[in-house]
Amino acid sequence: MMPSENGKPVMENVSAAAAPQVAAAVDAAIKAVGADRTRLMDIVQAVQQRLGYLPDEAIHTIATALGIHAVEVEDMVSFYAFPNREPKGRFHIRLSNTPVSLMKGAGDVAEAFARAVGVSIGGTSADGEFTVEWTSDIGMADQEPSALINGMVLTGLTPADPPDIIAKLRRGRTISTLPLFPGLDSQEGVVFPQARVASSLLQAGPIIFRQAGRGDGVRKALTLSPEGVIQEITKAKLRGRGGAGFPTGLKWKLCRQSPGDAHHVICNADEGEPGTFKDRVLLTEIPDVVFDGMTIAGYALGARHGYVYLRGEYAYLWNSLQAVLQNRRRLGLLGPNICGREGFDFDIRIQLGAGAYVCGEESALIESLEGKRGSPRDRPPFPTDRGYLQQPTAVNNVETLTCVARIMEKGNEWFTGYGTAESTGTKLMSVSGDCPHPGVYEVPFGITVNEFLDLIGALDAAFVQISGPSGQCVAPKDFGRRIAFEDISTGGSFMVFGADRDVLDVAHQFAEFFVAESCGWCTPCRVGTTLLQKNLEKIIDGRGTLADIAALEGLANTVTRMSRCGLGQTAPNPILTSMRNFPQAYEVKLQPEAFLPRVTLREALAEAIEVQGREPVAEEEEA
């Protein structure tokens, strides 16, 4: 062992980066984006890609180059899951531990990876080549078990696959699908048959997946005034598809009215909600339509800059998206004077995230886009008034922007012809779990859960989790309810659970998800998510009493009421909705005693028994 900079030992075989290497890596990263503090994310990612991790020296060099303090760089770096402050394996293998991936066998696959490289999960192999870790979700719920290896996604894995994959990685040394960070060249390497993300578009509907020419929506928009475009979107009654359902027309109107030096358009492609993958499908199948939507937004808002905030897990899409953008520039659909319209200049940059679910929350996304930790902001001010770089900003979901393009293409009346009064158009549903055909389905709003279950062939669902962990756990008695903003509002995650699945296990996995993803800014969520998990564990462990149930519910309600952003406000939902809809799942775990401690006396004594090598002193009573 040798001591690292910060005094912690590092493995000898992991090559600690030498000073000139660090300087060169930072230099190259800064050259690529300029000494721009708001581009810290790109700089950090590029340096890590070269060095494998971010040694103290890199942190200091970056800070100096940007004219900020090292503590500020650390503040940002330490927030995200992907940057490593310690040397990790050159190949970083991550599997998601969502209920869906686990039911599909991710546990065995992860074990197989760990065995193949000779570590336990969470560890790094002695030769410094491989790290195997759990992560929250990688957006592949339709083809789990999947693994993320550096930027590459391997899908549909079985426990038989890892030995071969590891052998190939050892031989090939590089993989071919690393994203191209600014300033880095493409790398050639091994090709894997499993490195194939199926599109999984199983039902293309009449709106989102209709056929149209590239740029049709933009050209149509240019026949209207910017206000006219906003009016058209307003008349279409389009509501945000990212989950909150805010009327897009109103958001744009507020943003446009807001005075500022420069307006910004952001496409939210963070898609971090476990079980959601429809934005991935959109960016794979019809990225041009998404960019059409962004360009239309740029026109309507008078913005010159658009950003796609792409979750780090989707880095494998980077190259193809860049190619699409490049092509659009060539075709005059991006850049100066779009479609020949004098003065309509608009371009799009892709910002890659680095592993943080909360960055899907729009104000956290903006903070992240500014090169900071992704903690949400207090509102007001709202992003439409003071968003990215304190300028008026409209953040919209990928699917919302797709709808924008379609509304421009065919008009608001056509769009409102689908769906319900409050929820116009269609919705993409990401289906996963216990059903024969997981994938994306485009359905009109207003469809009942039952109708939808029939459509996807999930005929014996015991419960469905709609909208991911932050959503609700819906029991069969409520399968007659509708998927629409006026009833069950959803961003589109639809996880099906069969009769042999345990509601409490699922609730517990979601509780863990929130512990891992709380940003920590505010007390109720930072501390509350951990306490909720502990209190739920007490019940699952068969040590819960009626008083514990009441305490759990009380705590859950406090976290909901007091948390600062949507993450904390919805973190108790898996517990609250399962309590409401499956009280019997809790009842069977309940103990009749008025009070039970969290641990048994035996458990509390285990360490002493080991240290002292003897049994407890026998006294009359056992706990």
């Binding site: 002493a608 002292q612 009573e621």
Partner: protein
């Protein structure tokens, strides 16, 4: 009618809370008029003969013996009061919770700066085994009332006792409300 019965115990505490109880000075006479003292270090009574009305617990649970005494108190006291910082959150003894039990024992008996010639971890078979950490009393049994302070002042204890004996909810005036 018989007088209500009072029991007290000191677990992982320093007896300071008991001292504070004795600090009620001349009111001790009044107290003796109000209650009969049952199991308590004050009268050295070792066992409960019957269920008593009020139990005062000083100190948290640091070892198996503490747990058993506390459970015995819970079983034999109608109202159980957690008295003082140690009982309420482990107090000063709980500072060992910041390091593991093994590390704590090794530092104290093997590696500490005052240890000469190796030292050894005491391991007499009559010594109760230590818990993995010091637990507040309410994490081991149900507690009905809490009297914070280190120790709670004589006035605090007196006011609370009187309230409980007269069937009222104990209330702490602001100046007596202390965690220290």
């Amino acid at each position: 009618m018989a007088k209500p019965k009072l029991a007290t115990c000191s677990l992982a505490g320093c007896f300071g809370c008991h001292m504070s109880l004795l600090d009620i000075d001349e009111r001790l006479v009044e107290l003796i008029d109000l209650v009969d003292l049952d199991k308590s270090p004050l009268d050295d009574k070792k066992k409960f003969d019957c269920v008593v009305d009020i139990g005062l617990v000083e100190g948290g649970c640091a070892n198996e013996h503490n747990v058993r005494v506390l459970q015995d108190f819970r079983k034999n006291c109608r109202v159980l009061v957690s008295v003082g910082a140690c009982a309420i959150n482990g107090g000063i003894p709980a500072m060992r919770n910041l390091v593991g039990l093994r590390e704590c024992l090794e530092e104290a008996y093997l590696n500490g700066p005052t240890i000469e010639d190796g030292g050894m971890i005491p391991n007499d078979e009559d010594l109760p085994l230590l818990l993995d950490r010091v637990y507040p009393s309410h994490e081991i049994v149900k507690i009905d009332y809490f009297l914070p302070g280190c120790p709670p002042s004589a006035d605090t204890i007196w006011a609370a006792l009187k309230a409980l004996l007269t069937g009222k909810e104990p209330e702490l005036p602001y100046q007596l409300f202390k965690y220290e």
